[in-house]
Subunit: 558 residues, 2 copies
């Protein structure tokens, strides 16, 4: 099963996402250049990474004697990835980056993830470390670590979770003690550390949340530290092994080629990143970027699963075609199968555009011409991020499941490969903040930002473009009704009870809006829009009662 | 993780399903007797079978040297199951059965399946063989095979699928040649044969679809044969090994303890069951019963996954309770988590009642007092069967996924056990006719049966009971609108294009009806009804556009 880079769909989605608005800030990244970069990225993803996906699932990353070995071929592919410059698209030129738009990077990233989610996690985490150090590091830290992370010569990790502290990071207990020389020693155990150890690079830069002595309890007592696998001298030379080690890898449902490590910090040497007790803020810098990337993973797995199901549907012959009467006909010619495929395709394209629109907003939030435009874009980015993460990853799981279903009994046989997508996809609604957390972020902080300006602006924009589009108008009216109710009930359990259906409603409507923007790009996109309007968007008004039911029905324990 | 038999929920669902209507035909199976039988079955399921589920997933059934060995403990548990009389609840007393209602058997069966889907498949397939032989076997065949199958001393299999013939059985090529002595020799290969071989019993009775020489092409040339693993003499003595052998077991996504065999028939001795070239009709007898049982598997896996998620939600502490303010609080005290749990519970209970209502209809179709009542019940059974199978199994997959999500990161770790349910559940929408096939059966044959009398009768009954229930009234109006459209477009691709959303709509509405019937059984059931009405039933009208969109949007190939 080969992977075909969806270059035309990416171009259409970039256009719908407003990529042309980046022209002023990124004159060198015009549409033609973007297309050329995406074509090359797609080729790399399809030729080098995609063939590793199934063997990587079978072999997995392995742990022995305090060290992790990447799945066969993964270390080499990673080095090719770094050498090809794919790790540095959007990073600052000052540190070796190419200064290209994030929107373009997200497009590239989707194809890498489609080729192998397990592979893509390694650069994804590095990206988070780059973001955190760029925003919060000292000049010395930036000079010392960023060039190696940007080039991909070293990788980065995020060390947040502890056994008792997952969604609730306030509960974490890893200790950081000053060593009397301006540095710190970290002691504690972290779990679920993605690519926490491996043999693909000479060094690994761990960003770690921990507590200083006498730090306040809860989330206001957490600081961010950097502890590298091998100590780094002031000249950038790699020295002695630090006391941070993997003590095992998890046996997971999917993404077997991504080592998920338990990490032990036993007096590991570390340095502070950002201010004391301000670690959560720094961590959110990493996490916001990561959330958009995880949303993109949802698009990626949906696309990969779709391609495989489509190919199967053309080859597998069963029964009579509903249209031509041919018997036996490819199952592609059965309306129910084709409907399933079109449903995956339409939702994938909607989610693709949502993620790219989030990335365009992120680019504009830094590079738009005026402070007002940057602020407006920042609000849009923040509003869309939980939708991009939550809706796209729920969609990714649904798409992988539907694609497996297209295979019938063959889908349940591991050798077919459809089952791997179903297994791999399942982590996406969980990590980088579960989708429940995304929904609470959306209805809590995001709806009330700037007095509701972000969501009001989005609703107004959709409505203005929906003239004459009855399904989209009804959808946006439903979104507004649910929004008003949530804002009126802000902070109450009632609002929390409506969070998940609201995120679905918002994604369904924004997705429909995105598809309507693409309807002019060709008959196939017009068809996706038409199909989605009746199959998905028509359900939007029926979601409002679920949002506004309130929490009374939940109050009794189960 | 222990399994707790949901005896109270089963009792409430049986009542909603109309179990009291069976009193005349089954005077010995009154409510108290049924409760006692279910309690004993639940104890057996929880104590003997449930502990095997996780080890069975890890070890799986194994194939070596032409024979399958059941997963550790499974053969012994199966023999206990047979000795306990659990295999014979609904079978005819003439052949050793207990002559109890199918509705009671389905209740029992749910708990066996919840304990282990992989285990439950073995008696499920035997049940199918019993049904087929009871309906189509000769007196000699009944006398020779039924007592052993009913007691569980032997097991049965269904040999339908071939590599090129899955959903389209008309394409099968296994040959049956008369041996000149009144018997036949079977030659061919069958795949996906559940419990096709094992070491739990002395013999296995294979029911096999094959073609006679000069049989018409297509589905009208298929006959049903019986080929036992060991030949059976006229006195019932087990003799020589027959030439039917497993040649391998599949490596599957889930239900690892259920051996899914490739079976080779190499001149295997066989006898005809039913009439020549009438095999599909006989097979449908097996399959209809099996479809209801698979629907029940959907309920079972949802219940098992729910119980595990519920327990986890009570133990796992993260963040602050929305209601009590406690910190850290069990995640059970977060509205979004509790909403997820309640959604699983409500849908599970709705599906449970749908399956039991189908079983009650099946019982009445054989045992109601008048021919008219039997005919009406038969129509109801046939109408509900694809809904019971399709809706309950889609729900089972959704429930397993939601239950995994409740676990957060721990859900993705295989050791937790939530992932097994997610993997195991995924076969249910596929086997015994994919859910797409169910949907086509529903909108094709089932809506038009008796001039539409079955669906009209159902709609009228729901409407009569929905007085004052706005959500249910709107739901049944939506169902009627979609039904009218489908009947008007019968046979056209347009109708086929709407099949899957229609099955969902029908299940959502019938499920809501069932929950409304239970609302008087206690505040907890009233709450399920109230919750489901806003969270699920409110979406019913929004599904109509998906049903009636038509096939034009699908006509172009993808």
């Amino acid at each position: 099963m080969t992977y075909r880079p969806p270059l035309r769909d990416l171009a259409a989605a970039l256009k719908a996402a407003g990529y042309d608005r980046l022209g002023e800030a990124f004159p060198e990244a015009d549409e033609a250049t973007a297309a050329a970069i995406l074509e090359a990225a797609g080729e790399f993803a399809a030729d080098v990474i995609a063939p590793l996906n199934r063997p990587g699932d079978l072999a997995g990353a392995t742990y022995a004697n305090g060290a992790v070995t990447a799945a066969p071929g993964y270390a080499d592919a990673y080095r090719q990835y770094a050498l090809g410059g794919w790790n540095s698209l959007s990073a600052e030129p000052e540190f070796g980056g190419q200064g290209l738009p994030k929107a373009l990077e997200i497009g590239m990233f989707e194809m890498i993830q489609a080729a192998s989610l397990a592979f893509g996690l390694c650069p994804m985490l590095t990206q988070g470390a780059i973001e955190a150090l760029t925003a919060h590091g000292t000049d010395r830290q930036k000079a010392l670590y960023l060039p190696k992370l940007v080039s991909g010569e070293w990788t980065g990790t995020m060390n947040l979770t502890e056994p008792q502290a997952g969604s609730d990071l306030a509960a974490l207990t890893t200790r950081a003690e000053p060593d009397g020389e301006g540095g710190y020693r970290l002691t504690g155990q972290k779990i679920f550390i993605t690519w926490g150890d491996h043999d693909a690079t000479d060094n690994i830069v761990h960003l770690v949340l921990a507590r200083l002595p006498d730090a306040p309890a809860g989330s206001r007592g957490i600081s961010l530290f950097l502890a590298s696998k091998f100590l780094v001298g002031d000249g950038g030379d790699v020295g002695a092994r630090n006391d941070v080690r993997p003590v095992g890898v998890e046996h997971k449902l999917g993404i077997h080629a991504s080592p998920t490590c338990v990490m032990a910090f036993e007096g590991a040497k570390a340095e502070l990143v950002g201010e004391e007790n301000n670690g959560l803020a720094a961590m959110f810098t990493m996490m916001n970027a990561a959330r958009l990337q995880v949303g993109t993973q949802g698009v990626a797995i949906a696309e990969r699963a779709y391609q495989q199901a489509l190919e199967f549907s053309r080859e597998r012959k069963q029964g009579r075609s509903a249209w031509t009467g041919a018997n036996p006909a490819p199952i592609h010619d059965h309306p129910d199968v084709r409907r399933t495929l079109l449903l995956i395709k339409a939702k994938t394209q909607a989610a693709r555009a949502i993620c790219l629109a989030t990335a365009v907003a992120a680019d504009l939030s830094r590079h738009a011409a005026t402070p007002e435009a940057r602020e407006t874009a920042k609000l849009r980015e923040e509003l869309l991020t939980p939708i991009a993460k939550g809706w796209s990853t729920d969609m990714g799981v649904e798409a992988a499941s539907l694609a497996l279903q297209v295979h019938g009994g063959m889908g349940f046989i591991e050798e077919t490969g459809a089952a791997q997508h179903y297994r791999d996809a399942r982590i996406l609604p969980i990590y980088e903040g579960t989708n429940g957390i995304q929904a609470m972020d959306l209805i809590g902080r995001k709806l009330s930002m700037a007095g509701g300006a972000a969501i009001r602006g989005l609703i107004a924009e959709i409505r203005a473009e929906a003239v004459g589009n009855a399904r989209l108008l009804a959808g946006v009216a439903a979104l507004e009704e649910a929004t008003d109710w949530l804002i009126a009930h802000k902070g109450a359990p009632d609002a929390l009870a409506g969070a998940t259906p609201y995120l679905k409603l918002a994604g369904d409507v924004v997705g429909g809006w995105m598809l309507s923007k693409m309807a002019g790009e060709g008959e196939d996109y017009a068809r996706l829009d038409r199909f989605y309007a009746e199959q998905v968007l028509a359900g939007a008004p029926g979601l409002v009662p679920a949002v506004v039911q309130g929490a009374a029905v939940l109050e009794e324990a189960l």
